[in-house]
């Protein structure tokens, strides 16, 4: 048995006239909680507990994104300022495929220099250096997935003497 919106409406019609304000229903495939607020209006929260039936168990073995678990978050390095991604997503080093990267190792940057793009939920978010100095290391490759907070770059701020 599966639970559809029409089934939930049917259940609601049955209990609407009863002296019931909450209903919790659990089957082998789903859980449904219905609740009547003080104003008499209902809300629902549901959980589909059935396990997915995957056609090819071999293929469907959980796949770990290499970058997800062992993300090179980059240990803090003396004199180097980390440029971290504020959002998880795909890290792009260039404004479009085939174009030159925003920055290369050795390039001078300022706080407002765009050093890459992180694509999250189809939105392109510019990442700024946030510090003045020289790009010292770029631990992530172009197109690699970056976990939230992952270090995208290290900027050496010592040469310029700029504050990180």
């Amino acid at each position: 048995m599966s639970l559809g919106a029409e089934d939930v409406q049917d259940i609601l019609r049955i209990i609407d006239g009863m002296e019931v304000d909450r209903l919790h229903l659990r089957t082998g495939r789903f859980e449904l909680s219905l609740r009547r607020d003080d104003d008499g209006e209902w809300t629902q929260s549901a959980r589909t507990t059935a396990e997915p039936v995957v056609l090819d168990g071999r293929d469907a073995a959980p796949v770990h994104d290499e970058t997800a678990s062992g993300q090179r978050t980059g240990a803090a390095r003396e004199g180097l300022t980390e440029v971290r991604t504020p959002l998880p997503g795909a890290f792009y080093r260039a404004p479009k495929p085939g174009a030159a990267p925003f920055v290369e190792i050795g390039d001078e940057v300022t706080e407002t220099t765009v050093v890459g793009i992180v694509e999250t939920m189809k939105l392109m978010n510019s990442v700024y250096a946030g510090a003045a100095g020289t790009v010292a290391e770029i631990p992530l490759g172009d197109g690699e997935f970056a976990e939230q907070g992952a270090v995208l770059m290290f900027v050496d701020t010592r040469a310029t003497g700029a504050a990180p």
């Binding site: 599966s2 559809g4 919106a5 939930v8 409406q9 609601l12 219905l34 607020d37 209006e41 209902w42 809300t43 629902q44 929260s45 549901a46 959980r47 589909t48 507990t49 059935a50 396990e51 997915p52 039936v53 995957v54 056609l55 090819d56 293929d59 469907a60 959980p62 796949v63 994104d65 959002l87 998880p88 997503g89 795909a90 479009k96 174009a99 999250t120 939920m121 189809k122 939105l123 978010n125 997935f145």
Partner: protein, 454 residues
Amino acid sequence: MILRRVLIANRGEIALRIIRTCRRLGIETVLAASDADLDSVPARTADLVVRLGPPPPSASYLDVDAVLSAAKAAGVDAVHPGYGFLSENQRLARACAEAGLVFIGPTVEQLAAVGDKLEARRHAVAAGLPVVPGGPLEDTADAARLAAEIGFPLLIKAVGGGGGRGMKQVHDPADLAATVDLAVAEAGAAFGDPRVYLERFVATGRHVEVQLVADGESVVHLGTRDCSVQRRYQKLIEEAPAPALDPALREEMHRAAVALGKHLEYRGLGTVEFLVDVDRGTFYFLEMNARIQVEHPVTEAVTGLDLVAEQLAVAEGRSLSFGQADVSFTGHAVECRINAEDWAHDFRPSPGTVTEAVWPLGDGIRVDTHLQAGATVPPYYDSLLAKLIVHGRDRADALTRLRSALARCAVHGVGTNIPMHQEVLAEAEFAEGGVDTAWFTRFLRDRPVGSSRG
């Protein structure tokens, strides 16, 4: 051909939506899911799941070969592409035909006819539809001559663009040549197609579209939808029928949409999008979408039809079971797109794990969602979490119900734009009906500093 098993090459709420109708009709469903979606609610609801590939869309939902392999492995009769991803992909439609599978959508020729903006415009003109004054640029020297015909302000649009990408406004004739050069260069780099065209810029425009359903011979319209509340060309609120529209203009739009459908001998679901030029009291053809759309439920609410069921019937080669005279429209429906966006922080995307998802329930309320407590909102795909659709006796009734329904939505763990919808619904101008496509931008700009957004 009777469909017995369908591959759904999509994810999220639309996958679940298609599964529900298939199940009602006794059709088995196989969900083609990326690794990020193998444990999703659609995966748990489908009869079977087949792995497409890694999470990035290019390696899974956009990979025609992966979808074909999944279809063959699953032994399906047909492929339903949903919306987005490969829904209007000619290569998939052709590959399905070659593999003896039904592609649930229009023919390859129809996809080609409406897939290219200039080609679609040519067909629209041939079918007698009004188009925005303008035309393609053969070379930049053309621009001044064409601009003189069209008049300023005008738009330069990339043929390969879409969704607001590749568009530039020109207000001053002195800027024309340089802007055209830039647009051509950017179009070539961004879309691999340097072609651009000029169009009159409509200052006060509304986005109104007409839903069609057709079987190759008979073309029936299912009325209008207004999708003018948009941010960066992404629709946020849709309603059916379009409010505050002159009845004669509405009828003319119905007729125009059907004329295009007949001209194309269209088969399946299609949406003809129009720009209503409010100042001139007229409308222009914009484009045709050859797929089911996100906002289809508002049409379902006012017509009582199940559009996925109609789509499946046409895909089986059946004729429409009803004609235009059989379609009746009842009341008014409004849909809010609930996205994983933190509107308090400039609509920042908000992927993560949902800890709580409570939805309103009651007559006239429909929630299309794949979101439940424990569900993951991956960072790889678009931000649509749920669609809240409310049907009322009339527009005022629908809006009252929608305000109450929104107040009862509770999503925790990821940020949503529910508070934004509540503020829009509190706006007198929106309540009045008939806002234009620039209204939402003005609403954002004019909101008082220090209100709940901050």
